[in-house]
């Protein structure tokens, strides 16, 4: 059963169609890769799904018939569709643990009267415990007291994913999780994404690193000029004539990285 369906989705900025009649159907439990050249509309797609932008037209349905298009980011996150950012989005002045604790907002259900009366302390202990678990799970346990701004890039990206996981999503949108990483950091992140996936979380992933996309994703959708160019399993995609043309000049990267 598809957990997320995108139907006829368009997003115009002025006269420019950043997304043009895109259709996607994401099955529960899959890792879906979204690839395409720069400016193909991948991040716009994530921004529309996660509620940062309102679509110009089209529908986004979650878990069958719930429409989430046009809802606010926080509502959509509350329903279980959570995204990470292409930029390294963190609370830089908070510790690693605090970053994750704050991201437990949806499951904390705190209110001002419980806070002022001091009742909140007990429930917060449980939240802190859960946050610690997530921090350990993401391999950041030894850094939990460190300020987020002091972490090396790879760990910062892992913390970005930890923040998203803390929301206990059903669908996780990863926007270029491997950006700017060293090969070791990449390997670690790929393992992490697998581990997250094993928790039963459906993953949508925008990524430029072809080797990793081919390795991780069971199915790939290719965007070009805001339109869905082609979809299929990795083996089909990397030999597809249209995809190679869209990546004109990067043909080598596609074949070289998979043979490596």
């Amino acid at each position: 059963m598809p957990i997320l369906e995108v139907e006829g989705l368009s997003k115009y900025f002025g006269g420019l169609a950043a997304l043009n009649d895109v259709n996607l159907s994401i099955q529960e439990g899959e890792i879906r890769g979204i690839i395409g050249p720069n400016g193909a509309g991948k991040t716009t797609l994530f921004n529309v799904i996660s509620g940062v932008y309102r679509p110009s037209s089209g529908q986004i349905r979650y878990q069958g018939k719930t429409r989430i298009d046009g809802l606010s980011s926080s509502r959509i996150a509350g329903m279980g569709v959570v995204r990470t950012f292409q930029r390294t989005a963190l609370y830089h002045h908070f510790s690693v643990l605090k970053n994750v604790i704050v991201a437990r907002h949806l499951h904390a259900k705190e209110n001002i009267f419980r806070v002022i009366s001091g009742l909140a302390k007990k429930t917060e202990e449980k939240n802190t415990e859960k946050a610690l678990e997530i921090v350990e799970f993401m391999g950041l346990g030894h850094l939990k007291e460190e300020l987020a701004e002091n972490l090396p890039h790879g760990h910062q990206r892992a913390l970005g994913v930890a923040i998203a996981i803390a929301c206990e999503p059903k669908v996780l949108l990863l926007d270029e999780p491997l950006t700017g990483m060293t090969p070791t950091e990449k390997d670690r992140m790929i393992d992490l994404i697998r581990k997250v996936h094993q928790q039963g979380i459906t993953i949508l992933m925008v990524e430029h690193d072809m080797r990793s996309v081919m390795e991780l994703c069971g199915y790939i959708s290719v965007l070009d000029f805001g339109m869905l160019l082609v979809e299929g399993p990795p083996a089909e995609i990397q030999n597809n004539e249209m995809v190679i043309n869209a990546y004109l000049g990067t043909e080598d990267i596609l074949s070289a990285s998979t043979s490596a």
Binding site: F94, V115, I163
Partner: protein, 328 residues
């Protein structure tokens, strides 16, 4: 850090607090009357500055805080005078009214942020202040309202006397500080800061930003209103001049000079700047210039405020302390 030195710093943190508190309890018995009145103003201003900081943590530097202080003063004063509501009931009701007005002002402005928000808040604040000025009935126009009831005698203590009212306002200030401190240390306080650090990220984790901004503005407004109630039942009168833009500027000066990064910044700001204010009475003509300049200088040279300076000094001292035990 060893557990031994941890303990030392913990006591080091509590000792000054106890010292200050006992000092505050002794002070009214030794000061002359005028200075006790001044001390009460410190308490009121600390409530104002600290409740304002709560709103600043969400990054909403609204400019209606002083007017909400006025809403609290007018509401509490009028409830007590016109409806005979007991003073100690009227004060929290004034706070509630200020909180509601704060919410009502913020609600239509939630679509704005940054400069647009600041300016719009000033516009609506002036609207309220001008209402007091233009409507003689029931607000008394530019002369305001006089003969506002004094606090009652409870258990033989006459709270309209200077020293009992000093302890009453000290108690209210400490209570407000405790509540604000709990908010500061709670998840809600963290969410406020998260919103100001990265609103997009905060929203992506399900934090409803408009709701939190509204919450900060109304909680802050509530405490500003309580401060207004404390003021009006000491002065026995209220008029619109008390809540004009000059007072707003002083609030900004306290908060900016003290710093907003930690809970203690506004307290430092009020303590230092209001002391300078009182000391500079002989120089009354050039005082506003001096205060404006001090704010600009702090913004340029001490962006973290005085609090930043102090915490830097403390870290330096601790570092020096920390090295020593390792060597022995």
């Amino acid at each position: 850090m060893s557990s031994h030195s941890m303990k030392k710093y913990k006591i080091g943190g509590l000792a000054p607090l106890i010292l200050v508190l006992s000092g505050l309890c002794l002070v009214p018995f030794f000061l002359r009357a005028y200075l006790v009145e001044v001390a009460m103003m410190y308490f009121i201003y600390i409530i104002l500055a600290q409740s304002y900081r709560l709103i600043v943590t969400v990054h909403d530097w609204q400019l209606y805080h002083i007017v909400l202080y006025g809403v609290g003063a007018y509401t509490s004063g009028m409830l007590a005078k016109n409806l005979g509501v007991p003073v100690f009931v009227a004060i929290p009701l004034g706070g509630a009214m200020a909180g509601l007005v704060g919410m009502a002002i913020t609600l239509p402005l939630l679509r704005t942020k940054g400069w647009g928000f600041y300016i719009a808040t000033y516009g609506l604040a002036e609207l309220i202040r001008l209402t007091w000025l233009k409507f003689r009935n029931p607000f008394g126009g530019s002369t305001g309202i006089i003969d506002i009831p004094w606090p009652p005698v409870i258990a033989g203590i006459d709270f309209s006397d200077r020293i009992p009212y000093y302890f009453f306002s000290l108690g209210v200030m400490l209570l407000v500080m405790l509540m604000l401190y709990r908010i500061e240390k709670s998840r809600i306080g963290d969410s406020f800061k998260a919103i100001s650090m990265d609103p997009e990220l905060a929203a992506s984790t399900g934090i409803n930003i408009p709701r939190h901004r509204l919450m900060a503005c109304s909680i802050g407004g509530f405490f500003a209103g309580v401060a207004g109630g404390l003021l009006v039942h000491r002065l026995g009168a209220v008029d619109p001049k008390l809540f004009n833009i000059t007072t707003t500027l002083y609030l900004l000066i306290w908060v900016v000079v003290g710093g907003t990064n930690t809970f203690w910044g506004p307290i430092i700001g009020v303590s230092v700047m209001h002391t300078l204010f009182e000391l500079s009475r002989p120089l009354i003509e050039i005082r506003p210039m001096f205060f404006g300049l001090s704010m600009v200088l702090v913004l340029i040279f001490l962006p973290g405020g005085l609090e930043g300076l102090i915490s830097k000094a403390i870290t330096r001292l601790q570092k020096r302390d920390r090295v020593a035990p390792v060597e022995t």
